[in-house]
Amino acid sequence: MERRADVSILEMTAVELGRKIKSREVSVVQATKAALEQIKALEPAVHAYVTVDEEGALKKAEEIQKKIDAGELTGPLAGVPVAIKDNMCTEGMLTTCSSKILYNFVPAYTAEAVRNLEKAGAVILGKTNMDEFAMGSTTETSAFGVTRNPWNPDHVPGGSSGGSCAAVAANECFYALGSDTGGSIRQPSSFCGVTGIKPTYGTVSRYGLIAYGSSLDQIGPIAKDVTDCAAVLETIASYDKKDSTSIPREDCDFTSALVDDVKGMKIGIPRDYFGEGLDKEVKDAILAAAKVLEEKGAIVEEFDLSLVEYAIPAYYVIASAEASSNLSRFDGVKYGLRAKEYEGLHDMYKKSRSEGFGPEVKRRIMLGAFVLSSGYYDAYYLKALRTKALIKKAFDKAFETYDLILGPASPSTAPRLGESLSDPLKMYLGDIYTISVNLAGLPGMTVPCGLDSRGLPIGMQLIGDCFQEKKIIRAGYAFERSRKYQGPAIAADPKAAAAQAQRGALCGNAREWEAAAAAADKRPADVGAGKEVRS
């Protein structure tokens, strides 16, 4: 009886749950317990989380219920449990970036975006799995084991925010935060059949977000529908003096754009996005979605965006260059992993970093260091910056004519586990539709628009001009009215999850990894036994 009640809670969107909490139909503790139970039931099959803070979440739930009862918290997300990608600092809670090198890192402060959620009464359930340091498109580069796609456990959830998207799809939280450097919110949202927004660069503070490519990184919401995404984005967007790239905006009332009306809206479909390499089923689903918007009164046209093929090399040069420098602070001196045996400083650096970083991270650090080296800087890094400027120009030109650009979020649906890692170049090419949005600093959103013949979700991407989130929200909302949210079977059926869990032994969370590694004596239990510098 109670189980059924909880399932009905889990199927609510974040905003629906918020409303029920406000009207006292559901208590915060009840909602939190429902999510925690779902996590317990499904994690063996999905492994969306690196850390689950059961105790903290329940305590917080009680606190927030009191505040709601006292009338101190009245927002739409008050009391709604959330999952946070593990590259956002959370005070007192392990923050690993799914990397061994940060296996024990507990920040002394909370990321600004997460703080904004906390102020709005969010209950943090835990931290979600990701590609190590957000480098990857499948969540397979995580040092703490892969996350499986809740729609089919043999497939990846996408990445790098794969844990957040899988958690939302599997009802293991009511919404989540992800980060997007080259598609890391939009692509896994597409693979997991959920909705995600990458806002205009500068809209959400990056303070406390552990940087991958600083000039491209942006935090955004991942949820079951556009309404939730708008409400969450409205909550996390803020001008933050602690982030020099933060932009003061007066137009962050994103929920005001939840209007079912696209009459006269001009939508451009870049021909360049529908050529070779795009899966036929994905193409058909996207064009069918465009048709829906057209029927609702939008004007849909094809056009040539140009320069699309240059986005990938430019992105990998810029992001890797920034990453090579951003990740140099992980050196075993101050926090995180320090090699057990070393001779002198240089050796300590070398061994700690060799042991701490996975192969994909090392690949990008080396690539980044290479393109910044003297003699290559102009040929690679500067050229990439120029390409970035040209891509921005191409978008500027498109937005002179169109309110929105519509296209796929990924050339295919979710690949099978292991398929991408064997061929990194192919994996990089999969980012072709999402990457240029980051290079140009634009907002983009993925909205689910169907399933392929294997039952895997397909997502449509809506791209807006800078600061035009409201246009993509409006179009996404109008489209969404035409269909009902559909989640994967296991989300509503934990028994199926248990069966899935049988199919493969999965790695546990970071703490388990730590214990296992210490037991195997791969790494000192008292890492940093030398001297640690604390502030």
Binding site: F105, A108, A211, S214, S244, F330, L345, L372, S535
Partner: protein, 481 residues
């Protein structure tokens, strides 16, 4: 040595700016806190932390640039200099390479050889690193990040200097300009001003520059002069022996008066500079530049002229008084209190300079308050203390910043102006020295000086010399005169 050589010197001067907080966070820049107490996530390079530029740093850099005739890059950027070292918590230093804030300036220096202009190639802003402390007991290294993120400017000169004299004159000039601007206290010993010397030699008249070396660890003007002399000799010797000068960084040991190679150009690191994506470009408007110009305080040249005109102080004295911003500040504050510029100048020029020399201190080290010097001048003027006593009181003011009124009272140093008491003492002294009286009457005028001296000694310097003279003369000449 048959050939004539020319020494070519360029300087890289790091100056720690006098901001209250660090360049990219709100932590205090104050000296001497317990290790890692003036730190936060930003200046310890914690994951997820972000730098935010302290506007005052730009303001000071601009002020120095304008005072040294530099052009201003009104669109300037910060770059990351990547290298691994534990004192550098992010393993990159935020500095400026591609678009530094100031460029192409000059200052005029004066040496015995005359005046000349020294070009300034550029001035850029950057952050300081932390400090490594080796713990011998535990045999490990510790890091203190209190200095990490303290703002610096680096002033890079053109290779325009030809001698140690010119280098010292250039440094003195920079120091005075920066001190007067209030941008830094520029103390070499404490490291708030540091200079690296780039030096090469070439045969006089040779069109091409010789191979240069960079000398580090120079903590005083004297060390700089010695290092230049040492390096010049070393390079000439190499050339005379037919050997090559290697482009390298050398470390000066001022105790041993020699240097040793730290690293050569071959193993120089590739710093992989690139624009810091966490910081937006600094856009400096014409209005901002004008505002900094308008706020520019009186610099030394102007002060020099004003002292001569307003206070009728001779050029030589004015040069000494303005030779340190602190000295000039003490002078002006004391004059403002007592209104006697010549008197104040005398105390500073004679007594203060003498004591500084004795104690091997710099004018910047004077720690007494202008109030106490003004009070002392007042006491002398009122005749409340004699000049002799005043000098000893000044020594106390100089050393311990005592309140002279209180000190004179406590030590009973007040001048005796009670004529009755004075006359009795002199009468006793005259009576006790009949030989002197006789000598005086025999035309030995010096004898009177002896009696005056005896009186002053008996009065422990507290007697007014004019009064003593008068009474002694009266007694010797038998009254009315």
């Amino acid at each position: 040595m048959s050939k004539q050589y020319e020494t070519v010197i360029g300087l890289e001067v790091h100056v720690e700016l006098a901001t209250k907080t660090k360049i990219f966070c709100g932590c205090s820049t104050e000296f001497g806190g317990a290790p890692n107490t003036h730190t936060c996530p930003v200046c310890t390079g914690m994951p997820g932390s972000l730098p935010v530029l302290n506007k005052q740093v730009v303001e000071y850099a601009l002020a120095v640039g304008l005072a040294t005739n530099c052009g201003i890059n009104q669109y300037c950027k910060f770059d990351r200099k990547n290298y691994f070292y534990p004192d550098n918590p992010q393993n990159y230093q935020i500095s400026q390479l591609y678009l530094p804030i100031c460029h192409d300036g000059w200052v005029e220096i004066e040496t015995s050889a005359g005046t000349k202009k020294v070009g300034i190639h550029e001035i850029h802003m950057e952050e300081d690193a932390g400090k490594l402390i080796h713990d011998e007991w535990e045999d490990c290294s510790l890091v203190d990040y209190n200095r990490s993120g303290v703002p610096l400017i680096e002033i890079v000169s053109e290779p325009d200097m030809r001698s140690a004299d010119e280098v010292i004159a250039y440094l003195e000039k920079l120091r005075l300009i920066i001190q007067y601007l209030g941008a830094s206290d520029c103390k070499l010993q404490e490291g708030s001003m540091r200079a690296d010397v780039n030096l090469s030699v070439r045969e006089l008249g040779a069109p091409q520059m010789g191979t240069r070396t960079e000398m580090k660890n120079l903590n005083s003007f004297k060390a700089i002069a010695r290092a230049i002399e040492g390096e010049r000799k070393r390079q000439i010797e190499l050339i005379e022996e037919g050997k090559k000068v290697i482009q390298e960084t050398r470390r000066w040991d001022d105790n041993k008066e020699n240097s040793h190679a730290m690293r050569s150009k071959e193993d120089a690191q590739d710093y992989r500079y690139f624009p810091d994506p966490d910081l937006t470009p600094v856009v400096i408007s014409d209005e901002w530049i004008q505002a900094v110009r308008d706020r520019q305080p009186e610099l030394r040249t102007e002060k020099l002229a004003r002292y001569q005109k307003e206070f009728s102080i001779p050029l030589y004295d004015a040069e000494i008084l303005t030779g340190s911003k602190h000295m000039a500040d003490v002078f002006e504050a004391t004059v403002a209190l007592c209104g006697r510029p010549k008197e104040v100048s005398n105390w500073l020029m004679v007594e203060a300079m003498r004591l500084l020399k004795e104690k091997e201190q710099e004018p910047d080290d004077m720690a007494f308050s202008p109030e106490n010097l003004a009070k002392l001048i007042g006491l002398v003027e009122q005749g409340a203390v004699t000049r002799t006593v005043a000098k000893t009181v000044f020594e106390e003011i100089f050393a311990n910043n005592v309140d002279p009124e209180q000190y004179v009272e406590e030590k009973g140093l007040k001048a005796v102006s009670d004529e009755g008491a004075l006359r009795r003492t002199i009468e006793e002294i005259v009576a006790a020295n009949p030989q002197s009286v006789e000598d005086y009457h025999n035309g030995k005028v010096k004898a009177m000086g002896f009696l005056v001296g005896q009186t002053m000694r008996a009065m422990k310097g507290k007697a007014d010399p004019a009064a003593v003279n008068k009474i002694v003369k009266e007694l010797l000449t038998g009254g009315a005169n």
